[in-house]
């Protein structure tokens, strides 16, 4: 059955903003994030025929985005690493110290922990939904989430200081 562009506009396109917000945190690079979201939406459009009406479109789109991100990373492994925004660069354009502090802490998490934390806390997915998005067992999501929260608390606490060098994997 052919699915219409109008239906895709209604089901998928309203999630563009949260996909982009998430992609920015994954890639640390505005143009890579835009490319990733564009690719996600086009992959979703091509596979829209298989999308079951009434199922969780947001979770479906995030799963596509994460798979596309991993596929791009595999391809780009031999090329130069993505530019990471340094505190100095951000400090010029972003006056929010709170945002800066949280970003610095987040960047010290490994990708797996950062991913589950963002999906749960910022995007509001449940552990079951995250397990489906990442195709990992629910127990894995729960333990990654616990470790990510613990690490963030340690990194954000006044004891460890804002510019601590600790790297959490």
């Amino acid at each position: 059955m052919k699915r219409s562009e109008g239906e895709f506009e209604r089901v998928a396109m309203p999630h563009t903003r949260s996909l982009l917000r998430f992609a920015l945190r994954l890639t640390h690079n505005a143009s890579s994030a835009e490319d990733l979201v564009q690719e996600t939406l086009l992959l979703a459009w091509r596979g829209f025929r298989q999308f079951e009406t009434g199922s969780n479109a947001r979770a479906w789109l995030f799963r596509i985005l994460i798979n596309a991100f991993h596929a791009q990373n595999r391809k780009a492994r031999s090329s130069l690493p993505a530019l990471v925004l340094t505190p100095e660069i951000r400090a010029v354009s972003d006056s929010s110290l709170e945002l800066l502090e949280v970003e610095q802490a987040l960047d010290r998490l490994g990708t797996d922990q950062r991913t589950v934390l963002l999906l749960a806390v910022v995007e509001g997915f449940t552990c079951r939904e995250i397990a489906d998005i990442l195709t990992v067992p629910m127990g894995t999501v729960m333990s990654r989430l616990s470790r990510a929260r613990e690490a963030m608390r340690e990194l954000l606490s006044p004891r460890s200081g804002r510019h601590g060098e600790k790297v959490v994997r």
């Binding site: 309203p14 903003r17 835009e34 945002l99 616990s146 608390r153």
Partner: protein, 242 residues
């Protein structure tokens, strides 16, 4: 349930995925264990801080949307496609814009009040004077312009109206209705309209999902502990029937 169980299950508690009995055992442990209680509180505060800071971002998606629409194969004639594309683009921009702004702006106070009220009165079951039974609930419901039949018809099949009381939400008197299917409970708050017609909008406070709307006749809120999509669906159903 011991401290280790609580530590392992905390992600499910914070995401609202724990069912009635497990949640009660979890809450009972927290009530008697200040260490675990403090731990959960700190984790919830961290979540609130992260969500508050990170969801403020409003990245511009115009370029992406334009690119994707250009790439999507069109079966219509160019003329029709342009006409429809323009309408769709404006609709999507409006939806995405309002949804994004809403998600990223602080939710109004009545959302937070309803979430707090639901947590205290339904999840934690703090003692309150509830009305139950058709006649008692009807006597409260009529004060808000609803009959018992209308109030009990706001929930989907399988749920029934179990109890009701009057609450103060954002300084307004609202009828608090609690529906159950025997294992799970959720709340609907119904109050006087604000003279506007507003569709369902979502917010989240810790584990509580809140969906608010204004039908032009009533202002209402649905509060659940569980997936956001479920809360939204319950709110759409109630909005159709109010």
């Amino acid at each position: 349930m011991n401290c280790r169980d609580v530590r392992d299950l905390t992600p499910l508690y914070l995401s609202g995925e724990m069912n009635g009995e497990a949640r009660q055992r979890f809450a009972a442990h927290l009530a008697g264990c200040p260490v675990c209680g403090r731990e959960i509180e700190e984790q919830a505060l961290l979540d609130e801080r992260l969500a508050g800071v990170l969801s403020q971002e409003l990245p511009d998606t115009t370029r992406i949307e334009q690119f994707v629409r250009r790439q999507m194969p069109a079966s219509q004639s160019r003329r029709r496609r342009i006409a429809r594309g323009a309408v769709a683009a404006s609709v999507v921009a409006a939806i995405a814009g309002s949804y994004g702004l809403w998600r990223l702006a602080p939710a109004p106070r009545w959302y937070a009040d309803a979430a707090r009220d639901h947590l205290a009165e339904v999840v934690e079951r703090q003692p309150r004077h509830w009305r139950s039974g058709a006649a008692e609930i009807e006597s409260l419901a009529v004060q808000s312009g609803l009959s018992f039949a209308q109030a009990s018809g706001l929930a989907p099949a399988g749920y029934w109206l179990e109890r009701a009381k009057i609450c103060g939400i954002d300084g307004q008197r609202m009828l608090h209705l609690v529906f159950t299917n025997g294992t799970r409970e959720y709340s609907i708050y119904v109050g006087p309209h604000r003279g506007v017609h507003e569709g369902v909008r979502m917010a989240r406070r810790n584990a509580e999902q809140v969906a608010g709307f204004d039908t032009g006749r009533f202002r209402a809120l649905v509060v659940t502990v569980g997936p956001a999509a479920e809360c939204e669906e319950l709110a759409h159903l109630a909005a159709e029937r109010l």
